[in-house]
C-alpha cells in the first residue's frame, strides 16, 4: 500500500530524484526532499518506533520536529528525528530504544506492567531489600535512555561564525515573512531563520488550498527570497535567547552567533493533543501533522479518518483531508460547529457527519487505529460514556488547540499571561528590542497575521535606528482557538499526556494528589516535559490538568521555566571548531635543534630538559652541572612582563607588592612578592626601576594576565596617576647563569659588567650584538647570572649568538626541570608549588619580604593578623646520603606520632649534594633545624629525614654576589 498522492502545489519533494534508504533491513524508496518518516509512509510503513517507558508501538504524530517516538540510529548517529531529518540516499537505519527492532522489540509487552509502574515508581520501589539494590539499579539503567551511543564515533565539530543584523526574524511563516519584508523595505539588514527546510510555514500547509492567499504567498516569498537585505536561513533553529539579544542560530553548517539589534518572534504554535484512551495508537495524530504530510510530502495520512476538533483550523484540515481523498467518517466537535464559521459549513456540505458537543473517548486498534468511539459532553465538560458512537477509521486527527512557541519570549522575560478568550498564553508586554507577531502573539486570521508581521517588522526596523514607528497592529483574535480541557479520563488509562515519557493522565493526577501540586514539582515528580521534546506537546495540557485539579487559574498555576535549548542542539555544533592556543617563544627553533623535550605550561610550550644524555635524569643533571661549574642559559620568555609608569607609579608598586618599592634606587632590582587581600601569596617576580616614575616587573608564567588585570583594576579604583602596559608578548628574556657568565658576556655587550659598575641586583640597559637589551643581575639559580630582556624580534638572534660565542665555555641550554632543581638547592620557593591556597609570606619563610612600615599594601591588614597566628613553616630537609628506600615525592605527608605533621612541597635528588633534599611545611612551630621528621611514602612506609637550614647551597650567597669567574671550586 502506498500513501503517495499526486503532485501537491507546494510540495517539498523532487519527484525527478529518487532516494533509497533501508530501515531495519527493509528497502524503501522515496524522493529527494522526503524525510525518513515520509519515506516510510510512502512505502506503507507507519510503525516508526517504540516509546520510552512501555515500548509501545508509535507512528507519526506531529511532523513538527518533536516526534520523539520516531527516533532512529545507525553506526554514525543516534537520535535521528524521522519526522524532520532528510532521507539521504543510501541511509541505513534502525529504531532507537528497541532490542531486536521496532516490530519485535524485546520489551514490547512492557505495557502490560504499566499498572505496577505508577507515577514515581522508581522512588517507591526498586530499593528494598537492600541487597537487591545493585540488581534494581541494573534494571533501571538497562531501561534508561533512548539511543545507543557509538563510543568510537568521532567528529561533529562545525565552525561557528558571528552574524550581525538590525532585525532578526525567527520563523518564516506568514507573519515572519511579512516582518522580514517590511523591515528590509524600511532599510534594515534582516536575518530570517526557520527550522523548516523551506520558508512558508503554515501558509504552505494549512492554507495550501486557500485561494484568497495565493497572491500574498507568492508576493511574500518573492520579496523575502530576492531582497538582498534579507539573509534567509532554513533548516536553522534559534537555540535560545540570551542576554542582550544574543541569539545563536544552529544551521546545518554550524552555529551563527547573532547579536541582533531587534528581534521579531514569529515562532507560531505547536498543536496540542486531546487526551483519550489509546491516543497513541499509530494513526492518531495532530491535524497539522496530517496537513504537513499532505502538503509537503504528498502523503495521504490515512484512508478513513475520524476527527476531534475545537477550532476552525480543524475544519480547514478536514477540507485538506477530503481534498486528498480521505474519507471522514466522523468529526467530534467539542463545542458547536455552527459557531466555527464558513469552513465548518463547507465540511458539512461535503456530507461529513459532525457530532457537536462530542469528544473522542477511546480508540481501538493495536498496530493501527481501527475505530474511534465518540461520546457526548455533559454540562460539566465530561464525556457521557453511556452514549457511545463508534466509527471505523484508520486515522484520527486532533485539532483541539495550540500552545504558542513562547520559549524565547519567556527567556527574555516578557510579561506573559494566559488569554482566556483565545485559550493560550500571550505576551502582554515585551522588553526593549523584542517584538512578537502572528499566532504566537494571538493573531490568528491569516490576513491579520500578515499585517501583524508587517507591523512588527516596521517597528523593529525603526527601533533599530533608534526611532519609533507609529503602526497600527491588528488586535489578537476574539475567537477561542484552544479548548480549555480536551482531556478525558478512562478506567483503562493509556490516555497519554506526554508521549516522550509515557505519562498517562492518572500518573499526573496522582502526582498532584501526592503533594506535587505545583507546576515545577509535578514536572520533576512525574517527568512530564522532561524528554527530548521538552514539553512541546505536553506542558500546556499539564498546566490545564493541574489547574483543574487544584481549582486554580492557569495564571496562578503558571508554566515551567522555558530553558534553552529550543530544540536539542548537537554538541559538536555548540563546541565548534577546535582551537587551542599554543604559545612558543622565538627560541623555539633552537630548542628543537637542541633536542628539547617540551612540557605544557598553560598555553606555553617550554623545554622541560634537553635530551642530550642517556636518560632524562642524566640530561637534567648535566644541565645543573653546567650551571654550577661553567655556563648555562635558559629561555624565560614566558614570564609576564609589565611596565608601570606615571607620577604615581612608585605608589602603585608599593601598594601591589609586599616590599617597599618607592625607595628603590634607579637601576636596581628588588624581589616582588604579591599577596591577595587575605594575605595569601599569589605571585612573585622581580621589579626593575628604570626611572623615578617608571618600573618594569616580571610575574610568574601563568600570572601575567591575572596580574595585569588586577593592576589595571586597582589603578582605576585607587584613582592614581599611573599607566600599566602588559609587554609579555613584545619582550623576551633569557637567563645566562654560571661562574663563567660575566667573563663570557662582557665582550658581547657595551654594558660595563664590572662589579663596581654593575653590582648584584642591579639592572642596566645597553646593547648586545647591536640590539637593545636590559640586563638584570638576579640569582634565582644561585650562581652569578644575568637576565637578558630584549625585543621579540631580536631574541632568537641573541640566543643563537650566545650559544655560538660561549660554546668554548661549554654553555648548555637548560630547561625547567634543571631550573627547579637549581633553585631548590638554593632554597627559593616556586609560587603555587611551595605555596597553597592559604600560604602567607611568614609561613613561606619570607618575613623579610614584607615591609609592614608601609601605610598600605594589598593584604597588609591580613598579614598583621596572620603573623602571630603562624602555625606552620616551610623548612628544608635532607635525606642521608646513604638513603636507599622508596622515592620521596612532592605532597607526601610528614607524620608525627601517627598524626599529620606537614607536607613536602618540593623534593628532588640533588646531583650537587648526592642525596634527596627538599622543602616541606612542618605543622609545628617548635620544629628546629637538626630535628628528624618522618615522611610517609607511597607504600605507607615511614622514612626519616633531617630538617636543615636554608639555603642548602651557598648559604652566604657568595656565588651570586662575589667574583666567581670560573675560578672557584664547586661549593659544598
Amino acid at each position: 500500500m502506498s500513501y503517495r498522492l499526486q503532485e501537491q502545489p507546494f510540495e517539498w519533494i523532487d519527484r525527478s530524484k529518487t532516494v533509497n534508504i533501508e530501515v531495519e533491513g527493509r528497502p524503501m524508496r522515496g524522493f529527494e526532499g522526503d524525510t525518513i518518516s515520509s519515506t516510510m509512509l510512502a512505502n506503507g510503513v507507519i510503525h516508526m518506533g517504540r516509546s520510552f517507558k512501555y515500548h509501545r508501538i508509535r507512528g507519526p504524530f506531529t511532523f513538527a520536529n518533536h516526534d520523539i517516538n520516531a527516533l532512529f540510529e545507525n553506526a554514525d548517529k543516534t537520535h535521528v528525528r524521522g519526522d524532520v531529518e532528510l532521507a539521504e540516499d543510501g541511509l541505513k537505519l534502525k529504531g532507537a530504544n528497541t532490542i531486536g527492532g521496532i516490530a519485535k522489540d524485546k520489551f514490547r509487552h512492557l505495557s502490560l506492567l504499566s499498572r505496577f509502574l505508577v507515577v514515581g515508581f522508581y522512588y517507591k520501589g526498586l530499593f528494598k531489600p537492600r541487597f537487591l539494590r545493585p540488581f534494581y539499579e541494573r534494571i533501571i539503567r538497562e531501561s534508561a535512555g533512548l539511543g545507543k551511543v557509538d563510543l568510537n564515533w568521532r567528529g561533529g565539530r562545525k565552525s561557528k561564525r558571528y552574524g550581525f543584523c538590525d532585525v532578526l526574524v525567527i520563523g518564516a511563516g506568514p507573519a515572519g515573512m511579512a516582518a522580514a519584508k517590511a523591515a528590509a523595505e524600511s532599510g534594515a539588514q534582516v536575518m530570517l531563520v526557520d527550522e523548516n527546510a523551506q520558508i512558508g510555514g503554515s501558509l504552505d500547509y494549512q492554507y495550501a488550498n486557500d485561494a484568497s492567499v495565493a497572491d500574498t504567498r507568492s508576493e511574500l516569498k518573492e520579496a523575502v527570497l530576492n531582497n538582498e537585505n534579507i539573509e534567509v536561513h532554513t533548516s536553522s533553529v534559534a537555540v535560545g535567547w540570551y542576554t542582550d539579544n544574543w541569539m545563536p542560530i544552529n544551521t546545518p553548517n554550524g552555529i551563527i552567533k547573532v547579536r541582533a539589534e531587534q528581534v521579531v518572534m514569529a515562532t507560531g504554535l505547536f498543536e496540542q493533543p486531546s487526551i483519550f484512551h489509546k491516543n497513541d495508537v499509530p494513526g492518531v495524530m495532530m491535524a497539522s501533522a496530517a496537513q504537513r504530510m499532505i502538503a509537503r510530502y504528498a502523503i495521504k495520512p490515512c484512508e478513513v479518518a475520524a476527527m476531534v476538533v475545537a477550532n476552525e483550523d480543524g475544519y480547514r484540515a478536514a477540507l485538506d483531508l477530503l481534498k486528498a481523498g480521505v474519507k471522514i467518517n466522523a468529526i467530534a466537535d467539542l463545542e458547536d460547529h455552527e459557531d466555527r464559521g464558513d469552513l465548518a459549513k463547507q465540511v458539512k456540505a461535503q456530507g461529513v457527519q459532525i457530532y457537536d458537543h462530542h469528544g473522542i473517548y477511546e480508540v481501538e486498534g493495536k498496530d493501527r487505529v481501527t475505530s474511534a468511539t465518540l461520546c457526548p459532553l455533559n454540562a460539566s465538560g465530561e464525556l457521557d460514556t453511556s452514549r457511545k458512537t463508534t466509527v471505523p477509521c484508520d486515522g484520527v486527527m486532533m485539532s483541539v488547540g495550540w500552545a504558542p512557541a513562547t520559549h524565547m519570549l519567556f527567556q527574555c522575560k516578557a510579561d506573559i499571561k494566559y488569554d482566556a478568550t483565545i485559550g493560550q498564553f500571550r505576551a502582554q508586554s515585551l522588553p526593549e528590542g523584542m517584538f512578537a507577531a502572528g499566532r504566537v502573539n494571538g493573531v490568528f486570521d491569516i490576513k491579520d497575521q500578515i499585517a501583524d508581521g508587517a507591523g512588527a517588522g516596521q517597528q523593529a526596523a525603526a527601533a533599530a535606528k533608534g526611532e519609533s514607528a507609529d503602526v497600527q497592529r491588528p488586535e489578537p483574535t476574539k475567537v477561542r482557538q484552544s479548548h480549555e480541557y480536551p482531556i478525558f479520563s478512562h478506567p483503562k488509562a493509556k490516555n497519554f499526556l506526554d508521549y516522550d515519557e509515557d505519562i498517562q493522565l492518572k500518573d499526573y493526577i496522582n502526582a498532584a494528589k501526592e503533594g506535587f501540586d505545583n507546576i515545577e514539582l509535578i514536572k520533576r515528580f512525574s517527568t512530564n516535559g522532561m524528554g527530548p521534546s521538552q514539553g512541546k506537546h505536553s506542558n500546556m495540557n499539564g498546566i490545564r490538568i493541574l489547574a483543574k485539579h487544584t481549582g486554580k487559574s492557569i495564571d496562578e498555576t503558571g508554566s515551567t521555566t522555558a530553558r534553552p535549548m529550543f530544540h536539542p542542539t548537537p554538541v559538536g555544533h555548540l563546541g565548534g571548531r577546535r582551537f587551542r592556543a599554543e604559545r612558543v617563544t622565538p627560541m623555539q627553533e633552537s630548542h628543537v635543534a637542541h633536542k628539547a623535550v617540551f612540557m605544557e605550561a598553560g598555553a606555553w610550550l617550554r623545554p622541560e630538559y634537553y635530551d642530550t644524555e642517556a636518560t632524562r635524569t642524566e640530561s637534567i643533571h648535566a644541565e645543573v652541572n653546567a650551571v654550577r661549574t661553567g655556563l648555562g642559559i635558559i629561555d624565560v620568555s614566558t614570564l609576564g612582563k609589565i611596565e608601570v609608569f606615571g607620577p604615581d607609579a612608585p605608589e602603585v608598586m608599593d601598594r601591589i607588592c609586599t616590599m617597599r618599592m618607592s625607595n628603590m634606587k634607579i637601576g636596581m632590582t628588588r624581589y616582588a612578592l604579591v599577596v591577595d587581600e587575605a594575605g595569601v601569596i599569589t605571585d612573585d617576580g622581580v621589579v626593575v626601576r628604570y626611572a623615578d616614575d617608571h618600573f618594569y616587573y616580571t610575574t610568574t608564567t601563568g600570572s601575567s594576565d591575572p596580574a595585569f588585570r588586577t593592576l589595571q583594576k586597582q589603578i582605576l579604583e585607587w584613582g592614581l596617576k599611573a599607566e600599566a602596559v602588559n609587554r609579555t608578548g613584545q619582550l623576551q628574556a633569557m637567563n645566562l647563569a654560571g661562574p663563567l657568565a660575566r667573563q663570557k658576556l662582557a665582550p658581547l655587550t657595551d654594558i660595563d659588567l664590572s662589579e663596581e659598575a654593575f653590582p648584584y641586583l642591579a639592572a642596566r640597559t645597553g646593547t648586545m650584538y647591536g640590539k637593545p637589551v636590559t640586563l638584570a643581575r638576579v640569582g634565582f639559580v644561585g650562581e652569578l647570572g644575568y637576565e637578558i630582556h630584549c625585543l621579540s624580534g631580536d631574541a632568537a638572534e641573541i640566543w643563537d649568538n650566545l650559544l655560538r660565542d660561549c660554546a668554548d665555555a661549554g654553555i648548555r641550554p637548560f630547561g625547567v626541570e634543571a631550573q627547579r632543581l637549581l633553585r631548590l638547592e638554593k632554597g627559593h620557593v616556586i609560587v603555587t608549588q611551595d605555596t597553597d591556597g592559604l600560604t602567607n609570606p611568614y609561613e613561606a619563610g619570607m618575613p623579610w619580604a614584607v615591609h609592614m612600615k608601609k601605610d598600605f599594601f594589598i593584604g597588609k591588614r591580613s598579614l598583621e593578623i596572620l603573623k602571630p597566628l603562624q602555625a606552620r613553616k616551610l623548612m628544608g630537609f635532607m635525606f642521608p646520603e646513604s638513603y636507599s628506600g622508596g622515592t620521596p615525592k612532592e605532597c607526601h605527608l610528614l607524620i608525627k606520632d601517627g598524626e599529620l605533621n606537614g607536607r613536602i612541597t618540593s623534593v628532588s635528588y640533588s646531583p650537587t649534594f648526592n642525596r634527596y633534599l627538599g622543602l616541606a611545611y612542618v605543622d609545628d612551630m617548635n620544629a628546629n633545624v637538626g630535628d628528624a621528621v618522618n615522611v610517609r611514602l607511597d607504600d605507607g612506609a615511614l622514612v626519616e629525614a633531617e630538617l636543615v637550614s636554608l639555603p642548602f647551597y651557598d648559604p652566604e650567597g657568595k656565588r651570586q654576589t662575589c667574583d666567581v669567574d670560573g675560578t672557584e671550586e664547586k661549593v659544598a
Binding site: L117, V118, Y122, Y123, F127, R154, R563
Partner: protein, 417 residues
Amino acid sequence: MPYRLLKYAFKNPEELGDPRYFDQPEKLKSSYDVVIIGGGGHGLACAYYLARDFGITNVAVLEQGYVGGGNTGRNTTIVRSNYLTPEGVKFYDESLKLYLDLSDDLDINLMYSTRGHFTLAHSDSAMRTSRWRAETNKHLGIDSEVVDRQFIKNEVPYLDLDCGGTHPIMGALYHGPGAVARHDAVAWGYGRAANVRGVEIHQKTQVTGIKTNDDGTKVVGVETNRGFVQAGKVISMVAGSSPRITSMVGLKTPIEIFPLQACVTEPVKPFMDTIIVSGSLHCYVSQSSRGEMVMGASADPQELHSTRSSFDFVEGLTDQMMDLLPFTGGLRLMRQWAGMCDMTPDFAPIMGKTPIDNFYLDGGWGTWGFKATPVSGKTMAYTVANDKVHDLIKPFGLDRFDTYKLVGEKGAASVGH
C-alpha cells in the same frame, strides 16, 4: 516484580495516589519553637533531624518557592569525600555514610549510586594536588588513590587520554565511593519524613524580614509575605540567598554569589558508570539514571544574583568535553540551567551559631553543598537543639574570618564541587 509495587496493581488507577508527601497547612501558626528559612535539602534535613533526634516538632520550614526548587533541584548530585583538609574530609565522609542508609531511613529510593569518581590531572601541578588529596584522604581512612593512565584506560576506555593532543591526561585521583543520587528525592524524602513527625512545611512563603529585640542582639521572629511569625530560634538555610537573609539582621559574611551552570544531553542508553572531573579543562560529567549526560563546569567568573543561562557556558563546556569524550560531538544538548552559589573565600561552608542569639546560619555552600545535605541537617539540628556547636562543624564557624582560621578547600572544590 518487586513486592512493593504489587500493591498498586489491584487498585483503580485513577484512585491510587499515595498519601501526600507534604501537607499544605492553610495558615501559619503565630509562633514556632524553630523557624527554618529555606525548604531546600538542608532546611528539610535539619527539620527532620530536629524532630527525629531531639523531639523538636513545633517547627516551620518556610520556602519562598517550592520544596527543593533552589540549588537542591539544580545541582549535578555528586557525592564524595575526597577533600583536601582533614576538617573537610571528616565532615563530608560522615555525610557519605549517612547517605548510604538514607533510602531506608526515609523510605524513598534516592537512587544513590556509587559510581567511582575520577579527578583527572593534566599537569604536574595537578598531579601534585592529587597526591596531596590522596595522602590526606588515606590518612583519614578514605578510599582515595593516585592512579596512572593505564588504570584510567581500563576503567574508562572511551576517554581520550591524549585530550585531542593538548594537555594530555597524566593520571588521576580516583575515589571509589564517589556517587550520584536523585537530588529531588533527597528533598522530598526529608520533607515527607519531617512532615510525618509534625513539622510544618510552608511553600510560597517568603521571609521578608527578621525581627530582633531592640538592641539587635537576639532574634525573636520573622516577617513573611503571609504575616509575622514569632520564633524561638531561626535558622537560615538559603544557600544562594544567604546575603539577603544575613543583611536582614545586619550580619556580615564574606559570602559572594556566583552563578554555576549545568546542562544535560538527550537521554541515551547508559554506557558510563563513572563520574569524571577535569579541573584543567574545567568540566565534569556523569550519566544520570535517566540516561542523560549531566555536565558542568566551574562557577561563572563574575558575581551575579541571577539564574540566567549563558551561551558562553555551553560553548566552552562542549568544546572541552569533546576533547575528553570525542564521541559526544554527535549527541545533542537538551537543556541548560544555572543556580546561584554562595561562595566563600576558602571554599568551605559557614555553619553554626552567630553573634546574634537564637540566629543560626548554614550557608556558604557554594558549588559543593548537595553532598553535605544529611550531615548539615544533622549537625545543625544538634547545634540548634543544644545551642552548642557540633564538633564536626566547629572548623566552619563564621568567626573564622575574623580569626583567620580558614579551611583551604579551594584545591579540592573548585571544579569538582
